[in-house]
Symmetry: C2
Subunit: 360 residues, 2 copies
């Protein structure tokens, strides 16, 4: 493992999922980590867990990372700036402009503050769900402003690089608009879809397939946290939701008056637009044409997937992605394997030769 | 493999994904399958592919399965009823009431017709994407009506059971309302979310995580097909979309006037409602509390997953589900393994003992 760029000590205020994960990641790099939390219990858990040591009088941190809920972040950042006059202070809240404006209004020392937002998380919270690798390979946004010097800001770069994340520089406005689109609005859209299920007959929900499961997965997220996030980023969220609502109204109107000239064409255009939008997403889980897939039937018994991936490994093929499909009650599951197109045919032959039922 | 219940021959009209999959599944059971398709090319591919043989003069099918697009299904069902006076005729279109009403209006012989809908599919279409196991363990809805005798209807049961699916009996109305909720409305909601991405800056879409990928996955589906499905099931889809739109309006209003008394509480209640809705979904991919998960770091190299699942298998543990997480550019991926809660601790220890980095 490469040496840490941070000299430390790093003080982490708030040891939930993100705070604990930052502590674990920095400790793994040998950086001294000081922990603080309003909850003595969380603090003790995080310390026992190896995320750092409790704060002590006389601590002089190089960097303070504020990892508290969005609605108290500005408060805590301001008090940490005051309490640690030589430290650079950052936060990891998922909204940036409201916090920045709040700090400006308070007359906080912005020459030592630079807000950030790591694009990483889990549906779980709390120190016990912390992971040293939570940020590995993930974008970590730095909400750039003019008030801090390049040299002082470099400490934030060090934090991000030490944790294995990818630094992305945006203005607070750009950041908030971006997360409104790719995170906050999808949360609302998913939540409202899931609400439709509340009073549905069993016969209906029992027909649910992977489609609605995917659309509603994030609707399981923590309401308390999301009220704060949406509340602090309401302007761009409202703007995007209104555009969504206008599309929805047009869609409903076209469905209501299907025989009107052009109604079906309007619906088709909306659907084609959806295709186009999905294709803009990076990474493996969008409509990714970089990989070919084959579907293998796997008995629902211990070791079967092991045997499958053994055979894939023996074939010298790297699994790029995988989707498991298993219907309750069925004795067989389907493993959809994503590989580079050039190896698909060979892998299909090799697996078939080893007795696997290739279903597609 | 158990013997086929159908005596056959079974005539399949339309050899796309569903038609070809039914042919492959029945051939695997030794049932004689006769194929017909408007496209000679598709027909030849499906026959070469092993889904059955092309139709010939004098064929007398026991059962005709119509697998053509929804907007021509009633046409084809009517002509198949006329052309095969001794056969039971079914279809697999994803809407049922419009087709049934159309057949009633045509005065078709409903004593030999029973519509069905297998809840199975893939984003891909065409005979080459057919899979003999496509229906294994999946619900297959029979749209019951009074016009057909129990004895004649049993041929449809045989078809469904021969293909390994689970028979679900609903009225055409119940079916259409159910799929409007769990399939058609989620398609619209996902499509409209994806449309928001079309003109988004790169900097924004590059921050996309798993959340928006899941919400928009089905937006990649075939627009031509969906125009027909939504057009033929517009009434229940409109009703549900209007309920969704009313929720959305309330949500936007609450965000616009955040300082109004109770505004934040209303938002929190919407979000809690989403939690409740997701919990109603069956199966593994909802918020499923039947399984515990652990996250293992896996190097992005051939054979690594094989080694992991080997070790899981050696531990005698059955993998209930799996989610792979891999950030573009990262040298390490995360495998989230879902197992029965009682084995989680033991598996964690065993994997750690074998040198795996357990991240959570």
């Amino acid at each position: 493992m490469s040496e840490a760029r941070l000299t430390g000590p790093v003080r982490i205020v708030g040891v939930g999922l993100l705070g604990a994960s930052i502590g674990l990641g920095l400790r793994a790099k040998g950086v001294e980590v000081i922990l603080a939390d309003a909850s003595p219990t969380h603090l003790a858990i995080a310390a026992d867990y190896g995320a750092g040591r409790p704060a002590a009088p006389g601590d002089v941190p190089q960097l303070v990372v504020v990892c508290v809920p969005p609605d108290v972040t500005a408060d805590v950042v301001a008090s940490e700036l005051a309490a640690n006059p030589t430290a650079i202070v950052t936060d990891v809240a998922s909204v940036k402009l409201a916090i920045y404006d709040d700090l400006v209004a308070r007359g906080a020392d912005l020459s030592r503050y630079l807000g950030t937002h790591p694009m990483a998380g889990r549906e779980l919270g709390g120190p016990m769900s912390g992971r040293a690798d939570l940020f590995v390979g993930r974008p970590w946004v730095v909400a750039a402003h003019e008030g801090i010097s390049y040299r002082d800001a470099s400490v934030i770069d060090d934090l991000i690089l030490d944790l294995g994340a990818t630094l992305v520089e945006l203005t607070p406005e750009q950041h908030d608009r971006a997360v409104a689109l790719v995170s906050h609005v999808p949360q609302v859209v998913s939540t409202l879809m899931a609400r439709r299920l509340i009073d549905a007959p069993h016969a209906s929900v029992n027909l649910a397939g992977q489609g609605i499961r995917d659309v509603t997965r994030v609707a399981a997220s923590d309401p308390e946290l999301w009220v704060q996030i949406l509340g602090q980023n309401s302007a761009p969220v409202i703007e995007i939701l209104r555009g969504y609502r206008d599309d929805l109204d047009r869609f409903i109107d076209a469905l209501v008056d299907l025989e009107a000239p052009g109604a079906r064409r309007r619906i088709a255009e909306e659907l084609f637009g959806g295709n186009t939008g999905v294709e803009r997403l990076p990474g493996k889980h969008g409509v990714d044409r970089r990989y070919a897939s084959l579907i293998v039937m796997v008995d629902d018994r211990p070791g079967q997937l092991a045997r499958l991936f053994n055979d894939v490994g023996d074939a010298g093929v790297n699994l790029e992605d995988l989707r498991l499909e298993h219907s309750p009650g069925a004795q067989v599951g389907l493993a959809e394997i994503f590989v580079l197109p050039e190896v698909q045919e060979r892998l299909t032959d090799e697996l078939a030769a080893r007795g696997w039922r290739i279903a597609g």
